[in-house]
Symmetry: C2
Subunit: 363 residues, 2 copies
């Protein structure tokens, strides 16, 4: 991420396996059924392993609160409620967003196997988590995966003065022969909202034209920032248009809440289901052309991209390259846990009688 300040130095690092086991145990102790605990953990660990910490294990405390408060059904009956050819609608029964979305992608992939393409609209879901985790499931099975979701309003329209769309991410994963998938996972806002919190805590000015004050005017003071700008700066109609596409696929096509109708993720209400929609799709390359030709095309494309000349001091990367490199580093060095998350984990560990994932020796 071009404009991200450095990670604070007070993080602790924890091995992925230990961290995942802790999340599973905590979610189970909070009442989640095994499938919910597994799906929520898998999604958070995707974020934490790939360096997308905003959607990593930082969310565990939030998810426990949502499960215990009643916002999220801890033992949902997630099921396909209608289908037509290569598409379907899945009802998440107010369950965890990751459970619903992994299951929707599983069904989209099954449809894709039969029809070359499959799409599923998700109803009655909750917080989406890292969109890339869901798209990736398709790529791991040799398919192109797409996952989008709207979310509570944080982003103004182009020319707008109020929060309108959510950060409405678009994730797409494409299988790569002898390599890890091409993986795009981007908010349609200029920056993620939690980036503002980060600049605030570091006392640094925001990049230009990424956030607005309460009147919709651009501000570089993170303390004044009340909303995000759509992707594109002076050409923000493009970012707002993409956010709209996500909104239509996620919320309109599922009959769920539009961004400005969604209760804030942060509460205070943690008892009412948020009725989120989402949309996933899978495409099978070999349904369009010879599998070998597809593989050769991806190889040639990525090879040329990675060899393309860069501006001095800069680098060119394919979507996902930065994240996969970070995953390799974290596989060795462990996953950094920020101080606030450490505190939350200690409290959860104490409440549920579970050993925290970091030892008293600081390891």
């Amino acid at each position: 991420m071009a404009a991200a300040p450095a990670t604070p130095a007070t993080d602790r690092r924890v091995a992925a396996q230990r961290l995942g086991a802790f999340c599973l145990a905590v979610l189970g102790a909070a009442g989640a059924d095994a499938a919910t605990a597994r799906a929520a953990t898998d999604a958070m660990m995707h974020g934490s392993c790939l360096g997308i910490d905003s959607h990593g294990v930082r969310l565990l405390d939030h998810y426990v609160r949502a499960l215990e408060g009643g916002r999220v059904n801890p033992r949902p009956s997630v099921r396909i409620v209608s289908g037509f050819g290569a598409v379907a609608a899945l009802d998440a029964d107010d369950g965890h967003g990751a459970l619903a979305t992994f299951e929707a992608m599983r069904h989209a992939m099954e449809l894709c196997g039969r029809f070359g393409i499959g799409a599923v609209a998700i109803r009655n879901s909750s917080h989406f988590g890292p969109a890339g985790a869901f798209a990736l499931r398709a790529a791991e099975a040799g398919m192109i995966g797409l996952a989008v979701c709207n979310s509570d309003s944080f982003v103004r329209l182009h020319g707008g003065a109020v929060r309108f769309h959510g950060t409405n991410p678009i994730a797409c994963a494409v299988p790569v022969p002898q390599g890890r998938p091409w993986l795009l996972d981007m908010a349609t806002s200029a920056i993620p909202y939690n980036r503002i919190q980060l600049y605030k805590s570091l006392g640094e000015p925001l990049p230009p034209a990424v956030a607005s004050d309460a009147s919709g005017f651009d501000t570089r003071d993170p303390h004044e920032a009340e909303m995000l700008a759509p992707l594109g700066g002076a050409f923000g109609f493009k970012g707002a248009g993409l956010a709209g596409l996500v909104e239509i696929l996620s919320a309109v096509l599922s009959g769920m809440k539009l961004s400005f109708d969604i209760a804030p993720m942060a509460g205070p209400d943690f008892s009412t289901p948020r009725k989120l929609g989402a949309f996933v799709m899978a495409l099978k390359p070999s349904a369009f052309l010879d599998e070998a030709a597809f593989r050769a095309g991806m190889e040639r494309y990525l090879d040329a991209l990675r060899r393309a000349p860069a501006r001095p001091g800069e680098a060119v990367m394919a979507p996902g390259d930065r994240e996969w490199a970070e995953a390799d580093r974290r596989a060795t060095a462990g996953i950094p846990i920020d101080p606030a998350t450490q505190t939350a984990f200690r409290a959860l560990a104490a409440r549920f009688g579970i050993k925290p994932p970091f030892g008293e020796d600081g390891g």
Copy 2:
């Protein structure tokens, strides 16, 4: 378009019907079969009616050159060459891009009617024209339409110092009850390349961070601009990622040329087919949820969007609103024809013995 300078005042205005008839006659005289002439005219008239003049009748002279030179097959056998469930591959037989893409969308819509979704990869095609024209066909039939295409390299990667992707547009059209479709049609570059020509001819500086010189460094001098920046400015990895998604769907999934392998649109070679790929998709809302619920959702979304407070001196619009308003103005006032296109039209008219669409009285 936020940063577009005003249209020069030396344009002539012509009624749409007269302009379309002229295009049809010229294309026919240049050897195009009736289907090619119709499709190319429909696509150009979409651009000219909606104010997307870069993809309007300005292209007629270019298309004649491509048809006569042999780059574009004037009497192609466009056909579906393979299919699997809800997807197919269409071979354009080196025909006109608009003919191939309208036909591909027609087939995608037929698949969509049977399976709720349909997608077609297009092979051996040529210049795409206005992507929105193809997406719109689906919306006019009550479906969500998507159309993407890669094109010859003009856009650097994020951090890149050379042209890599084409302007790789994304178009999506969504049906709106009692209204004209929601219509997004955007290049994944910061600005279109022809915008640079416009700034050049007007002697105005470019907006910041939209174009680079021959070394990939940002420049505001249109005479120095050698390539475009990806959408997103400091967050150009998003624009480059979206361009990559278009590249994969259009070129890799069709087995066609990657952007950097495509012969330049501007020639000098006008005899060799350019072997372009493209990708279209249609989704049927009623396959996902009750049709009335979808319509109500779109109405509520668009109503809220259009009523959303704007920043002082600015306006909020849904994708397509600006274009539909311009279409209304042009339906009354006529379509402006720039001086270079007037000259080209006079030459075409003289060569083919066809009456030009503007009278000698200047009308």
